[in-house]
Subunit: 401 residues, 2 copies
């Protein structure tokens, strides 16, 4: 990928507008009966027209064969090296509940678990306690105090929650306390670098207090931490690309990822139609919009092929609303593939289309995995998308004399 | 790209001959009326035959979305990382007038400008004085002497000229004196590294003397310097590829870029026909020839779609002369795209064809942007072209046991 130092040098501020429309988990695999993927099965005249007028291709968010998580998938789309800009599990969890994670905060993903009287784990998930019970226990944990440290307890579903530690000199380089199996005791928090000693102590102190708070809460009588991490220090998109970027997403995790790169988060409702209203309402205030559609991914994760087809069709039907705003560049893609057949993220490259005045159109007439193979973009990396969008918006000067 | 250390190890000297034919600014964009690019509009039976018999693809000189200057575009074609091998504006200017820039020389691009009695810039271009006046003033500047430093004044057009300083211990890391706006005084030359202090002093001394020489030459009564730079230290193509390379180019800048990588510069006339005569006349003396056609770029820069088409057609008509020499490898491409529609360099990938005995031909029957999308080379980087040409010339040994 092109170095940020170079992108900073050649990026220019112009009035042109870019929309990056992300169908989460867009790519799929052929249905065994029809031989067509979700995208190929959907009736989507608007996406097909955008593809026919634009230039298409396939994108590997991280690299061929690599299945990206949501963090790497999105950071790559935003133009950031997804390997160097790794987002820890704890951070992602905090972002996922809209927690406003500050620089220096240390976040961890936690499980309630069951330990026996000798402290040996008998159930890593505490029998998947009900979410309401989780909330009650989190209310107890919130009362724990540590000297000079603010603790934020973020309840989740069933046995899951997150914790954030805020205080001077904290670091994310601490190993998991979750041993990933039962029959042994939870590990102590261990610093992975000489700088994280204080953090390991803070965490161990917190765990000790949590253990005594939870002593009578069988089966949820202990906690396990993993993915202990800090938010990566990323330069803002405004610095690299001289953009004034905004994010429109119905799910908190994607707002959180957008916040990591300095996007303004626009309040929106829960549907794509709401998101498009938000886009229209803020059209004059920004020159870059990241718009996120969640339900392609969640239907894929559920293995619901037909629902994923419907999500695409419903979004397609609303696209004229977006096209009516006449963005100078409209890029449509996904952060990774989520084939219903695999019920999860996959390594398959993601279809991408770029529709713009000077995009040099190709022969692709349909937005689909198969058609995109012969697109004019070829097979690109996710990190190429931002430079391509910027170039098509005439926002990149010549490199070198 | 493949490391030079590896290329050095596997390159072998053989009698086979490679011709790299570069149509400057080859790639284009479709004409709004016909939907065909310049290349697609041109009648070019010879290029089409070479493409049909050969293997085609698209090349990004620097990377997707990046619009290359002439320097990065050509260095990439010669196999050099265009980001690490950056050529400064001053160096390019000196190369552009065929100045034989030595290692250690410091070159700058200069403007004559107008300053008022308080030294404030009132016109950064001195009213674009006539080129003849420029020559007279440059003759005066040539008389300036500095201790231990040779000064070369290279007159240009209108208000532009270049200066080269030659002497011990000079460095290129000096900031522009051109403030890029009027209403303020020219900046003093400031060293950007601790090693460039002497150079900044030399430049400031030169500027002071120039100012007194020009005192009565209103409106050209002062000078501004920018792009202060030294030629990059590049290993020669003879070292990396074991080639004895020669350059045939009608414009000095491209001869200069070829000189940077150690090519022998062959004297030639001003037309492609002259260049082909030069090629034929030197056929036995070299095993690699870089042949440069300038007018595809200049017609594109002028926004003259039809002229660009004609340049391609005229060159095509002469190609049998080249093919008659039976090069073992003929690679035809551009250093970047220059669509007439954009009147300038652009980011669009450049068509490439490689015609060689063992190239493994593809289904492409026509040399065009659209056809090359489905070529057997796929979408490659500019720096891949030299290794591919070398391989097709059977000049690269196996890598590793």
């Amino acid at each position: 990928m092109i170095d940020f130092a170079i992108l900073k040098e050649i990026s220019t501020k112009t009035p042109s507008k870019i929309v990056l429309l992300v169908f989460d988990g867009l790519g799929g695999l052929p249905h065994p009966e029809t031989g067509k993927t979700e995208l190929e099965s959907a009736r989507k005249p608007n996406l097909d027209r955008l593809a026919a007028e634009g230039i298409c291709g396939l994108s590997d968010p991280v690299g061929p064969g690599i299945t990206p998580g949501s963090g790497p998938g999105h950071l790559s789309l935003f133009g950031y090296d997804p390997i160097k800009s790794l987002v820890g599990r704890g951070v992602l969890e905090a972002l996922g509940v809209d927690f406003d994670l500050q620089e220096g905060d240390v976040a961890a993903r936690c499980n309630y678990c069951t330990v026996d009287k000798n402290g040996i784990i008998t159930d890593r998930r505490a029998g998947r306690i009900p979410t309401e019970r989780n909330a009650e226990l989190c209310a107890k944990l919130k009362k724990i105090k540590l000297d000079g440290i603010n603790i934020f307890i973020l309840p989740g579903k069933e046995h899951r929650f997150a914790v954030v530690f805020r205080g001077d000199g904290l670091r994310g380089e601490v190993a998991d306390t979750d041993p990933q199996k039962s029959g042994i005791a939870p590990k102590a928090a261990v610093a992975l670098t000489p700088y994280a000693g204080k953090t390991a102590s803070v965490i161990n102190e917190f765990i000790a207090k949590a253990r005594s708070v939870l002593a009578d809460s069988h089966p949820a009588n202990m906690i396990l931490l993993r993915g202990i991490s800090q938010r990566p220090q990323l330069p803002k998109m405004s610095e690299i690309f001289k953009l004034n970027p905004a994010a429109i997403a119905t799910y908190p995790m994607y707002r959180g990822l957008a916040r990591l790169v300095g996007m303004t988060i626009l309040r929106t409702g829960s549907t794509f139609s709401d998101e498009l209203d938000t886009l229209a309402g803020n059209w004059n205030n920004h020159d870059f919009f990241f718009v996120h559609i969640k339900y392609t991914d969640s239907s894929g994760e559920d293995g619901d092929f037909d629902r994923k087809v419907r999500v695409i069709e419903e979004a397609d039907a609303l696209l004229p609303k977006l096209a009516g705003l006449k963005p100078d560049v409209l890029a449509v893609t996904g952060d990774h593939s989520t084939p219903a057949l695999l019920k999860g993220h996959s390594w398959h490259p993601v279809p991408i289309l770029i529709n713009a005045k000077y995009c040099r159109t190709d022969e692709v007439k349909e937005f689909s995995e198969k058609a995109c193979v012969s697109g004019g973009l070829g097979r690109i990396r996710g990190t190429d998308i931002m430079p391509l969008a910027m170039a098509n918006a005439l926002k990149l000067d010549k490199f070198g004399a």
